[in-house]
């Protein structure tokens, strides 16, 4: 049981990051679940450590929030698949979140950098 509870915690922590990553991936155009998973995996394998399966609850949540939309389509290998794309709302959210993250990371970087540099 202890391992599963740990997974829950991790998911909680990573949820926001995962959402951001999905939105970011979809910013380049529509994609199906597998493609999103692969893209995220390439960028950060930490988040999807528990498996590609945990991508789907996040997709469902974003769908419900209206950040993304789903449509049926055909994959590059001629396979019927479900494609996700960013909505206008999702795009706005992505840019807002991105600038927030950038601000935050700049601030963190400033705090963590040695004071001597700040003086120079």
């Amino acid at each position: 049981m202890s391992t599963r509870e740990g997974a829950d915690d991790q998911l909680e922590l990573m949820q926001g990051t995962l959402d951001m990553l999905i939105l970011q991936t979809l910013a380049f155009g529509r994609a199906h679940g597998h493609a999103i998973a692969c893209s995220i995996e390439r960028r950060s394998d930490e988040v999807l450590q528990v498996g590609h399966g945990s991508l789907y609850p996040a997709l469902q949540r974003l769908l419900k929030l209206g950040m993304i939309a789903a449509e049926d389509g055909v994959s590059e290998n001629n396979r019927r698949a479900r494609f996700y794309r960013l909505t206008a709302k999702g795009r706005r959210r992505l840019s807002a979140e991105a600038s927030k993250w950038q601000k935050l990371s700049r601030a963190i970087a400033r705090i963590l950098s040695p004071p001597a540099e700040e003086n120079s």
Partner: protein
């Protein structure tokens, strides 16, 4: 729901596509198809968990889960019919009993009386100074009533009434009927309007009567033209001017037919009896509290010119609701406590049954956890199942209590106040439902703990005999609670026995009592007395009759007139509150009643002409007034209070004690203490004495005969028919019937409590059996191995019996202590037995041990039949 299923299927399809793509990539990377498939699945993770988590995001999952759980629970329960039926019956009994008692408490005590603004209605009553705490309703005189009506400001209205029983002739014949004489303000104060016709209120209605809805239905056949028709009260013809609405049960609170007639008050403000007979109901002004109302009434009461006993009384106030149902409050709450205990027992049983079932489902639980079900999810499922069963139990119990309520209403509707209003109201059903859910959750907590412990542990439950202490504790609790119920019923049984063995002081065997009333209410007292004496002589000469007497106070009669007189004894200083009851009897009293003469002699025919008035006194009188003195020959007289005129005393002549008789039961309660009593031969009463009046109200005869009661009854009736057709028979029954009837209320209580005790006993037996049977099933391996190692069958059985014995002891010890406490709580209902009765305790303990032994015998036998070879083979 279907939408969700479709969506879930689409999602699962999407997962499969995902995995297929991954597999394809793996194959492209050079893996074998199997490896590729395996790797892809591994990378994806738990498919069902992902589906479940996604599903959770869509919302409404709890409904789906609940439905899922319900479906699953139903299937599981149907799969285990023995378990389900036992559990259902347990909960049905527990919840049914509680629902019934809740409905009674709700209908009788909680529900507002069916009168407009009933909370403003109060009763004003007089209370003896001596017994300050008693709340027995004491009537006021109509004079005082009238002063209260005119002099107080705190009340919106003050009304008076008194009740009596008279023969009433309606189209369906003559029957003894309850009459209520009311003042003109009565109905206006109660803010009641007629269903038909008009109500007694203003001038011009002096000859009219109103009838209750029940009277209209039962005696006038619900005739819509009943208003204007005539009924006869005694020999007087009265016109029905109105019918009261359904549910108007003032003042008795019962649904008996009642005729209301205007009270006749003479010019000096007294009613026909010239004694205190007005019961007062008043309506407080909206902004006035009970205390303020009482203070205002007391102000008036203090300056009114009062007579007789009234001058020594205090004025008191209480709510009208208390007047109607005050007496029922304590017994009802006691019974509610009893069923509460029963519900606890049922709940413990349910918990034990579920622990057993949960344990047998442990492998299933472990599998589900391993497959990714969260503990909370399992918890929800178990609780759902438990609540489902207990709600089903509540529904069945509700049906049970509906039947029980209907039965009680039918059987006691006319007897006890508000019992005719008994009903299962929605609020009670809601309470029962909430209780059922609480019981369901509580009963599933114990198995949940077991599951949590066992699944959290690493040990494999299959190979270890795990024993939880919880079921044993629950059984001990059951045993203890059952002890309480059994002990209380035991005390009630002993009370009834004690009452049945009370020295009656007279011999009821072969005595028939007869109550007659003159048809004409205001008949001249002397004429009544003549007729009654003639009848008495006639009865005494009937063949087969040994003797006959008249008595104003007959034990167990409902027609007794209690005459309380302030009494002084010559040669003894008078103390405030010295009073005795006076009973008027005829010459043959001692012979007929079989009362034991302790000293002196009984009445003789020759006494009639003697100059002094001879009286008999009872032991209680001797104890209070003639202690350490020779009673026979003592002289008594009525005490004259300062300011009393001759007219105010029953008579002035002194009385001489001629004999002392044993205490005999007075009134209706076998357990009541004996009051000082003086017996007067009515023929020696001085002419014009107030006491002579008594005989114009009702004449009570006691006839001793060796004839069978039915024969004697017909002989007496034909004698009345011939000798005094103007007398109406109110009651005719063997006295032993009265003795039995007087125990009716206690019998009812005993029946209820011992019914609860019996149910508790059965539930406990089932509980013990269940726990032991389950424990034997669990310990089969252990027992098998023990046997293989040389233990005998009887030792195996002993193992089980020992376990039962420990549970019994754990339960009996606190049970006996709790029974003691419960005995103390119901002490006021007991007679002739102490709160802790060793005999009862012993009997209860013995019964419990027997039942436990019987319940344990079957599992013990099963343990003895364990085949060691089978166990070893399985090993």
């Amino acid at each position: 729901m279907f939408r969700w299923t479709r969506r879930r299927n689409l999602l699962l399809q999407e997962f499969e596509t995902h995995i297929a793509m991954e597999t394809q990539e793996n194959i492209d990377a050079g893996m074998t198809p199997e490896e590729a498939q395996h790797a892809a699945r591994k990378k994806f993770g738990n498919v069902l968990l992902a589906a479940e988590r996604s599903r959770a995001i869509w919302g409404g999952i709890w409904i789906e889960r609940l439905l899922q759980d319900l479906r699953y629970a139903l299937r599981g329960l149907i799969g285990a019919p023995g378990y389900t039926v036992t559990l259902l019956c347990t909960l049905m009994l527990g919840l049914g009993c509680v629902t019934t008692m809740l409905a009674m408490v709700d209908s009788i005590l909680v529900r507002p009386l069916a009168l407009p603004h009933a909370d403003e209605l109060v009763q004003l009553y007089g209370e003896d100074r001596a017994e300050g705490t008693s709340a027995s309703p004491r009537a006021l005189s109509y004079r005082v009533f009238d002063e209260l009506r005119r002099g107080t400001h705190a009340f919106a209205g003050v009304s008076g009434y008194n009740t009596m029983i008279r023969p009433v002739t309606a189209p369906d014949g003559t029957r003894i009927t309850l009459l209520t004489e009311v003042t003109q303000d009565f109905f206006p104060v109660l803010e009641i309007h007629a269903k038909l016709g008009s109500l007694i209120s203003t001038a011009g209605t002096e000859r009219g009567v109103d009838v209750s809805y029940e009277f209209w239905q039962e005696r006038l056949h619900g005739d819509p033209h009943a208003v204007g028709s005539s009924i006869k009260i005694g020999d007087e013809t009265r016109t029905v001017i109105g019918v009261l609405p359904l549910g108007f049960h003032v003042p008795q609170g019962t649904g008996a037919p009642v005729v209301y007639l205007p009270i006749h008050v003479n010019a000096s403000g007294e009613d026909d009896f010239k004694i205190e007979s007005a019961l007062v109901i008043a309506r407080l002004r909206r902004d006035v509290s009970e205390e303020q109302g009482l203070a205002d009434a007391q102000r008036v009461f203090s300056y009114v010119d009062r007579k007789y006993g009234e001058q020594y009384r205090h004025l008191r106030i209480r709510s009208y609701r208390e007047l109607v149902v005050g007496d029922l409050q304590r017994p009802l709450f006691a019974l509610l406590g009893g069923v509460g205990v029963l519900l606890l027992i049922a709940c413990a049983n349910a918990a034990n049954l579920q622990i057993g079932r949960a344990a047998s489902r442990m492998p299933e639980m472990a599998t589900r956890l391993a497959l990714g079900a969260s503990f909370a999810r399992l918890l929800q499922q178990l609780v759902t199942e438990s609540v489902l069963v207990s709600v089903a139990g509540a529904v069945l119990g509700g049906g049970l209590s509906y039947a029980a309520i209907a039965l009680v209403r039918h059987a006691y509707g006319h007897e006890y106040a508000r019992f005719d209003e008994l009903a299962l109201h929605p609020i009670v059903l809601c309470c029962a439902g909430a209780l059922a859910i609480a019981v369901g959750i509580a009963a599933s907590l114990a198995p949940l703990l077991t599951i949590r412990r066992q699944t959290a542990g690493r040990s494999n439950a299959k190979n270890v005999t795990r024993r939880s202490r919880l079921p044993g504790m629950l059984v001990a609790l059951q045993v203890a609670l059952t002890c309480v119920l059994l002990a209380v019923s035991g005390l009630f049984v002993r009370t009834l026995q004690a009452l049945e063995n009370v020295r009656l002081g007279f011999d009821p065997h072969g005595v028939t009592t007869l109550v007659l009333m003159p048809e004409k209410q205001n008949q001249d007292p002397d004429l009544s007395r003549n007729i009654e004496t003639r009848l008495l002589e006639r009865f005494a000469t009937l063949p087969g009759v040994q003797s006959a007497t008249m008595q104003t106070e007959v034990p167990f009669s409902n027609y007794n007139v209690a005459l309380n007189g302030t009494t002084e004894v010559d040669g003894r200083a008078f103390h405030q509150g010295d009073s005795a009851f006076y009973s008027m009897v005829s010459t043959n009293f001692v012979q007929t009643s079989g009362i034991r003469l302790l000293r002196g002699r009984g009445f003789q025919a020759a006494d009639e002409t003697s100059s002094s008035i001879g009286v008999l006194v009872n032991e209680a009188f001797v104890k209070s007034f003639l202690d350490q003195r020779e009673p026979v020959g003592s002289t008594l007289r009525f005490h004259r209070n300062p300011g009393d005129k001759d007219d105010d005393l029953p008579f002035l002549q002194p009385m001489t004690v001629i004999g002392v008789v044993e205490n005999e039961i007075q009134g209706n309660d076998l357990g009541a203490p004996f009051e000082p009593m003086v017996y007067l031969d009515y023929r020696q009463l001085p002419a014009g004495s107030l006491l002579g009046m008594v005989f114009s109200m009702a004449a009570q005869y006691a006839v001793r005969s060796s004839l069978p009661p039915a024969t004697l009854a017909s002989e007496l009736r034909s004698a009345i028919q011939k000798e005094a057709p103007s007398m109406v028979e109110m009651s005719l029954r063997p006295m032993e019937e009265g003795v039995a009837q007087s125990l009716g209320e206690r019998r009812l209580a005993l029946r209820l409590v011992s019914g609860f005790g019996l149910v508790a006993l059965v539930l406990s037996a089932v509980g013990i059996y269940g726990v032991l049977a389950y424990s034997v099933a669990l310990r089969r391996r252990e027992i098998g191995i023990r046997m293989a190692l040389g233990s005998t069958r009887s030792k195996a059985a002993g193992l089980v019996m020992q376990q039962a014995g420990i549970m019994a002891l754990l339960g009996l010890a606190p049970g006996v202590a709790a029974a003691w406490a419960a005995g103390a709580a119901v002490r006021s209902f007991l007679y002739g037995v102490k709160a802790f009765d060793p005999l009862t305790a012993g009997a209860v303990g013995g019964t419990m041990l027997l039942v436990i032994a019987a319940a344990a015998a079957f599992p013990a036998m099963r343990a003895a039949q364990v085949n060691p070879v089978e166990t070893l083979r399985a090993e």
